[in-house]
């Protein structure tokens, strides 16, 4: 079992990318021999993304509401992952975090309890809103990028090339070791992005 943590700020496009990733995995394995479990973590009493994902694929979607798995629900996440591994043992678990979570914290927590679990972090950023949000959300956005393996700059269709370059330059100040991709999640995403995310 491998774990992919999908992080990134609210509205950056995590669910849109995840929908395409899940379809890519389904197409890659038409006989269904690649089992995928998606864990949706949303803050608030009402879940939205889990409904979108449940209605768009043949994979299992598990919901974790009313708390963030990088802090208040970290214990529940570990026990949930252990249960998934014991009862389903899928090839892949994808965790979509809340938009205010710190993905690296989640990875540290999981690896402390499940040291043998291969775990990758992908962080999604919003090219259009990056510069506008960076100052007011300065405690959150940079730390979400911390030690991510892959950083996806989404919504590049909403900015010109020059602006996209500036956004990437800004993001690289906080993480220059990740593999970077620029995409527009409303259009088909290159499969190379998915392969790199999965490692």
């Amino acid at each position: 079992m491998k774990l992919l943590i999908m992080g990134g700020f609210l509205g950056s496009g995590k669910t849109s990318i995840l929908l395409q990733l899940a379809k890519y995995l389904s197409a890659k394995s038409p006989e269904g021999d690649v089992q995928v479990v998606i864990i949706e973590n949303e803050i608030g009493e009402v879940g939205v993304d889990d409904k979108v994902l449940s209605g768009n694929g043949s994979y299992s979607v598990t919901n974790m509401f009313s708390g963030c798995v990088c802090c208040t629900m970290s214990g529940e996440l570990v026990s949930g992952l252990t249960k998934i591994q014991r009862e389903i043992d899928p090839q892949l678990v994808i965790l979509e975090t809340t938009g205010v979570a710190f993905p690296h914290n989640i990875r540290e927590t999981i690896q402390y309890s499940m040291p043998d679990l291969e775990c990758r972090v992908c962080c999604v950023t919003d090219a259009k809103r990056w510069n506008r949000l960076l100052i007011p959300m300065g405690n959150l956005l940079p730390d979400q990028l911390d030690r991510a393996d892959v950083i996806i700059i989404n919504k590049v269709d909403k900015v010109d090339q020059d602006e996209a370059d500036k956004v990437e330059q800004s993001i690289r100040q906080f993480n220059d070791t990740a593999v970077f991709f620029r995409i527009c999640a409303n259009e088909p995403i290159d499969t190379k992005v998915f392969e790199t995310m999965l490692g």
């Binding site: 700020f9 609210l10 509205g11 949303e42 803050i43 608030g44 009493e45 009402v46 879940g47 939205v48 409904k51 979108v52 919901n63 974790m64 509401f65 009313s66 708390g67 963030c68 990088c70 802090c71 208040t72 629900m73 970290s74 214990g75 529940e76 570990v78 809340t98 938009g99 205010v100 710190f102 914290n105 540290e108 927590t109 402390y112 949000l133 007011p136 959300m137 405690n139 959150l140």
Partner: protein, 147 residues
């Protein structure tokens, strides 16, 4: 989902405020829990949730919901707030059937739904929870779903 048996030791970066009478290591702040409109806090984010019943078919309800959500967004930014994400799922109430059994006979009566349900959240920053509650009440108060 039982959140009372959580291990909260993994992260000391987050502060929560929780206004329940049972014990939590973290802190959360809930207002109007289980009400059609509620507001919580999570760290620096203000998290509003709303459950709506919108009259009309899907197209009509979609237009109403879109307009009201834009209004929420505008009011948040007018107060100097930052929008994290305002989103909702609209579900059309399709054809329904009422099944009635008295002895061994089953009677069925079909009818079309006359409204849509919407469940959504508004996650914002830099305004007060009371301000978000006021905005959501102002924008959605007449179309909330009570059950």
């Amino acid at each position: 989902m039982d959140t009372d048996n959580l291990d909260n030791s993994a992260c000391d970066l987050h502060d929560h405020e929780h206004d329940h009478d049972h014990e939590h290591e973290h802190e959360h702040e809930h207002e109007h829990e289980h009400e059609p409109i509620s507001v919580d806090t999570h760290e620096t984010s203000i998290v509003g949730a709303y459950k709506l019943k919108i009259p009309g078919d899907k197209d009509e309800a979609e237009a109403v919901l879109d307009e009201r959500m834009r209004l929420v967004a505008r009011k948040v930014t007018d107060l100097g707030g930052i929008i994290g994400h305002i989103k909702a799922v609209l579900t059309e109430q399709g054809r329904s059937v009422m099944i009635s059994i008295t002895e061994d006979e089953s009677n069925k009566r079909y009818f079309d739904g006359d409204s849509c349900n919407a469940d959504g959240v508004a996650i914002v920053f830099l305004i007060k929870p009371e301000q978000l509650m006021d905005i959501l009440t102002e924008c959605f108060g007449d179309i909330v779903r009570e059950n």
